[in-house]
Structures are given as structure tokens and as C-alpha cells.
């Protein structure tokens, strides 16, 4: 019997390493195996009958294309690749308090295009004239100082790739029923950029830190003057006054002309439109570190100042809405990250956690950055339960949803990092389910 395209599989001889067709990550890591697979794959594609349309010379081959533009935008065919914005009634009184989400399921690699970085603001996006913007540092310092942008641009800079994740990301995980929609619906308050700016400790040391100082208050100059307390030791470590995002100046939605960057810590603390730092003895207990962004535990106590975002991962391909196209070869892929360091490994299961295959981690694997993982998969067309589980360099392992709820209850609202489960049905439909 002649092989149909779906039967002629590039990795047909590969030994599964876990149930339901999960193959060895070496198929991606070792050049030889990969290229063998790739050539077999092209053979498969070649076996498909070319459509009549493909046999004609397309119009764009027959006339010169558009001329040059000062700032490029994505192809008009990529128009659906947009942030997920909550639609609200025109009468809603606070339209600038809320969020939009990064379409994680449509992105590759680890860098979020700046225009697709998730937004979270408390009173809209201010339109700041950089020439009139100032950064004030005062409080427990020898000499209160004010910096204009021109001065800050003359300091030595550092660049680093870091994720920013809203502390409320994946908050749907605490609910009794799984959220319905694309992966971004539940997990899209997560983005990753290359940030460039001035190490905050240069500026604090220039002002002269009083020995009594243990915290700072960071405040934005948006209409909400959003403010958070940050321990001084973070400010003297990897904290940065970020001026650039992915090579260009920070976007208005991300804090133009400057934001605080606290690698790995909850997104809300990375204060946008940064204009004031007050060095203090203790935390100020602002609205966003008391009434919000605190973790209500089952015993009625609340954990306050739980800053780092814990180890986590999610499969973005396949995922809800990114359905299967019939049995055969697929690459399972997604993101893993930890606010406490580098990702050490990611395991993938296709049988609800009974057996696991170690995924390949795509370079670069940076500390407190998104890490892309991949695993080859031969899907036989039967229903499977897909999961990913990340481990970071501190040894912390991403918990199951049951383990997380077992320790933190269901009223937490923040810092959800449980394992995400995709049910892949025989029809090819992919659904978010609680395992």
C-alpha cells in the first residue's frame, strides 16, 4: 500500500522516550538526526500534489515591490497577531485601569515584540514629554538629587534579557473551572524583552545612602502615581532604570521615558514612568502591596512581599485554539521561566504526568528570562493529556495545580504557577483542563 503523507513520518524510526509518542529531544539537539529528519520531512512535503495556484508565477514576482519606509510594520497578513484587549462598555468609568495580553500562542523565540508586550496600567498610559521628565531621589540620602534624561543617558549602561510577568498572571488557575480561550487568556500577562539602562545603584550611591535605609519607595508619574516599596538589597543588585526595550526607547505603554526593572520580581513592582525614589527605613505599605498583590492563604493570613515570580512553564503549541491538523509529526513548544534564576530543565508528558520526556532548551538560556523549549512528538491521533513541568537552577520544580492549591488554597489570586494541562482530543481540538 502506498504511504500517505501522514504515514510517511520523518521520525518514524525514533524511539519514544515517554508515552503517547514523545520522542527524544536529541532529535533537535544533534545536528545529524535533525537533518536526517528534515530531509525526510521535505520528502513528505514534496509528495503533496502542488495546487494549480502554486504552478503560476505570483504577481509580486512580476513588478517591483514597495519602496523604503522609515519604520517598518508587520505584513498586512499578520494583522491577527495582536494583544488581547478586554472589550468594555463605552460607559466604563476607568478604561485605563486594566490590562492587555501578549498573544503567546502566535510568537516564537523568547523576545516579545515591543508592540505586543502585555500592558497593565492603573490609570492609563501617560503621554510624557521626555525633556520635562525628571527622576527625583530623596529620603534617607546624604544629598537629594534630581536627574534629567540627558544626564541619565551619559551613564554607563547594561543590557539584559528579562521577562516581566504580572503577579496576577494565570490567575484563572485559582478558579473552579478552567478559563476558555487562547493560552494568552490565562497566561498572557507575560512578556520578555532585552532591557538596557542604568544600574540603579549608581544613582543611589551618588545620592549617598543613609545606614538606616533598608527599603525604597518607587513611584510613577502616571495619573495613579502607582507606587511600590522595594527592599534596598534588590536596588543595589540587579535593579536597573531601564531606558531602552529591544534596542529602541521604551514604549509609552511600558513606561516611557523610563521604568524600574527588577529582574524576576512581580510585574507591578517594575514601576513604569518612574519619577521618584524615596529611600526609607521600612516599606510604605502602599495600596498595591497591601489590598492588592498580597497572597491570601487558607488560614486567613496574608503573605506580603512575595516578590520573585516562581518557576513556571506553559506549552504554547499545541494549545487551546492552536489545534491539531491530523495525526503525524508535531513539535511541542512553549516557554519556561523563573524569577529566581535560569531554567535548568523542562519535562513534557503526554499521559497526564505518568511518564515524562526531557525537552530541548533553546539557547540563550538566561537568568530570569523566558526560555524556549521544544520536543518532537509523533501523535497517533488518540486523545492525550499534554503537560510541561519546569525546574529552575535553584532546584525548584513547578507544582501541579493540586499541589499548589493544597498549599495555597484557592483565594490567593496571585503568583499562580501550577502545571498547565492541555487535553488533545481525537478530533484535534485542544482544551484547557484541570488535571
Amino acid at each position: 500500500m502506498a504511504k500517505t503523507p501522514n504515514e510517511a513520518q520523518p521520525f518514524a524510526d525514533a524511539e519514544p522516550v515517554a508515552a503517547n509518542g514523545l520522542l527524544h529531544r536529541r532529535l533537535f539537539l544533534s545536528g545529524g538526526a535533525f537533518f536526517a529528519g528534515a530531509s525526510a520531512l521535505s520528502g513528505v512535503l514534496g509528495a503533496r500534489p502542488a495546487s494549480a495556484q502554486m504552478a503560476t508565477v505570483p504577481d509580486w514576482r512580476k513588478e517591483p515591490g514597495k519602496s523604503f519606509t522609515p519604520y517598518g510594520v508587520p505584513s498586512r497578513f499578520e494583522e491577527p497577531v495582536q494583544r488581547l484587549v478586554t472589550v468594555r462598555a463605552p460607559s466604563y468609568p476607568s478604561p485605563g485601569a486594566g490590562s492587555s495580553r501578549t498573544p503567546l500562542h502566535l510568537l516564537e523565540g523568547i523576545i516579545t515584540p515591543s508592540g505586543l508586550h502585555f500592558e497593565r496600567s492603573h490609570s492609563g498610559v501617560p503621554d510624557i514629554d521626555p525633556d520635562r521628565h525628571r527622576l527625583l531621589i530623596h529620603g534617607l540620602v546624604r544629598q537629594p538629587l534630581v536627574f534629567d534624561l540627558e544626564s541619565l543617558m551619559r551613564y554607563p549602561r547594561v543590557s539584559a534579557i528579562h521577562f516581566i510577568e504580572c503577579a496576577g498572571n494565570s490567575g484563572g488557575g485559582w478558579a473552579a473551572q478552567p478559563p476558555v480561550g487562547f493560552v494568552a487568556t490565562m497566561h498572557g500577562l507575560l512578556s520578555c524583552s532585552e532591557w538596557t539602562g542604568v544600574p540603579l545603584h549608581y544613582l543611589l550611591e551618588e545620592a549617598g545612602i543613609d545606614p538606616k535605609a533598608k527599603w525604597i519607595l518607587a513611584e510613577g508619574i502616571d495619573a495613579a502615581a502607582m507606587s511600590r516599596s522595594v527592599p534596598l538589597d534588590k536596588c543595589l543588585g540587579d535593579a536597573m532604570v531601564a531606558l531602552f526595550q529591544n534596542g529602541e526607547r521604551i514604549r509609552p505603554e511600558q513606561g516611557y521615558p523610563m521604568r524600574l526593572l527588577l529582574p524576576g520580581w512581580e510585574g507591578n513592582m517594575n514601576v513604569k514612568w518612574l519619577h521618584r525614589i524615596k529611600v526609607t527605613e521600612g516599606p510604605t505599605h502602599t495600596k498595591d502591596e497591601t489590598s492588592k498583590y498580597t497572597e491570601l492563604m487558607p488560614d486567613g493570613k496574608s503573605m506580603q512581599f512575595t516578590f520573585p515570580m516562581e518557576v513556571k512553564s506553559v506549552i504554547t503549541r499545541p494549545s487551546e485554539g492552536i489545534n491539531m491538523q491530523g495525526p503525524g509529526f508535531y513539535e511541542i513548544s512553549g516557554f519556561a521561566w523563573s524569577g529566581n534564576g535560569k531554567i535548568k530543565r523542562v519535562d513534557v508528558s503526554a499521559d497526564g504526568g505518568a511518564s515524562w520526556a526531557e525537552a530541548a532548551l533553546q539557547e540563550p538560556i538566561a537568568s530570569r528570562a523566558l526560555t524556549r523549549f521544544r520536543l518532537p512528538w509523533q501523535w497517533d491521533g488518540r486523545e492525550v493529556i499534554l503537560q510541561s513541568r519546569a525546574t529552575d537552577e535553584t532546584g525548584a520544580v513547578q507544582p501541579t495545580r493540586a499541589e499548589l492549591i493544597g498549599s495555597k488554597g484557592i483565594k490567593n489570586a496571585y503568583h499562580y504557577n501550577g502545571i498547565t494541562t492541555w487535553e488533545v482530543r481525537a478530533s484535534g481540538l485542544v482544551k484547557n483542563v484541570w488535571a
Binding site: 544600574p199 545603584h201 513611584e219 543588585g237 540587579d238 510604605t284 505599605h285 496574608s302
Partner: protein, 178 residues
């Protein structure tokens, strides 16, 4: 070779993200002394001990009119919540199996946070439009709606930090420096 040394320092910092970004030379010192007037204009944050609270005072009785005019449209006339957060009641619901209401009365640990937040960010459509007296008044009214103070209790720089919020002792500082 000044530039080269700085560059090497920067590269080291990039490679060891969490490490201190030690430079071979000191960075420039380009900050200007901050004028006292500038600090006074922007130093609006109020910690739990009340440092920085402005002069002025008000009672909940005086606050009712302010609240109805400037707050009730989004938060309800009795702080029961509308398009935006519920501010009152909910005491005893933090462990409720069916519904939890995290309000000023049931959840917030410090009364100073209420003054700080209202003054810096409320009302949503016109921040900084309330006088300090009006902020004290709205603060007093929300505390009264939560039965934390009486209707004629005076709220000012001395009495506000002394208000003991019902849920204060339930907060645990989880931060452990690495």
C-alpha cells in the same frame, strides 16, 4: 582608556546579571541637588506611622457629601461596590467557602494607605482634585462605613495612624533577602 574600562565593567555586569556592576572607574555624578520645593511637591507617600500627613481634619459626617459626590458613582453610595471595588463590609469572609470580599474593613492592614491612595489616585477621572480636608473626609467616611470609627470621630495626622485596622495582624512579611 577610560571608555574601555567602563565598557569592560558593563560587559561583566551583563554576563553576571545578578552580580554587582562594579566599574573600573566611578560612573559620572550628574545628579543635580534636588530643590526643597520639588521634594515638597512630589513627596506624597504616607507610611503607617503617618509621617508626612498634612494639616487638616474631618469627620465621617463631613465625609458623606464628599463620598457621594466624588466616589459613589464607581464604589456605591455605601461603598458596596459598583463598576469598581467594594470598599465596605466583608468582615469574616476571608475564609468563606463561597464568597470572599477583600475590602478596606475586611482586609486592608493600615488606615494610612487609604489616605495615601485616595490623595494620589482618586477620583479616577480627576486625581489631585481633592483638597487635603476632602481626602481626610472621604477617608473618615470609608472607615465609618466599615464601622471602624464613629460618625463624629475626627480624623487627622494624629488620629489616622492610630486607627487599628481589623485585619492588621493577619499580614506576614514573607520577604527574606537572598
Amino acid at each position: 582608556m577610560f571608555g574601555r574600562k567602563v565598557l569592560l565593567g558593563g560587559m561583566t555586569a551583563t554576563a553576571l546579571v545578578a552580580a554587582s556592576t562594579a566599574l573600573a572607574v566611578d560612573p559620572p555624578k550628574l545628579g543635580q541637588p534636588a530643590p526643597e520645593m520639588l521634594i515638597r511637591l512630589f513627596d506624597i507617600s504616607i507610611p503607617p506611622d503617618g509621617t508626612g500627613l498634612p494639616p487638616g481634619q474631618a469627620t465621617a459626617k463631613q465625609g458623606e457629601a464628599v463620598f457621594i459626590a466624588r466616589c459613589a458613582a464607581c464604589h456605591g453610595e455605601k461603598g458596596e461596590g459598583a463598576t469598581n471595588d467594594r470598599l465596605a463590609s466583608g468582615v469574616g469572609t476571608l475564609q468563606d467557602e463561597i464568597q470572599t470580599f477583600k475590602t478596606v474593613g475586611s482586609y486592608w492592614p493600615y488606615a494610612t494607605t487609604l489616605f495615601d491612595y485616595v490623595r494620589r489616585a482618586m477620583p479616577y477621572n480627576a486625581p489631585l482634585s481633592l483638597t487635603d480636608e476632602e481626602v481626610y473626609a472621604a477617608t473618615a467616611y470609608v472607615l465609618f462605613l466599615n464601622r471602624i470609627i464613629g460618625e463624629t470621630d475626627v480624623i487627622n495626622a494624629q488620629s489616622l495612624p492610630a486607627v487599628k485596622m481589623p485585619n492588621r495582624d493577619a499580614f506576614i512579611n514573607a520577604y527574606a533577602p537572598r
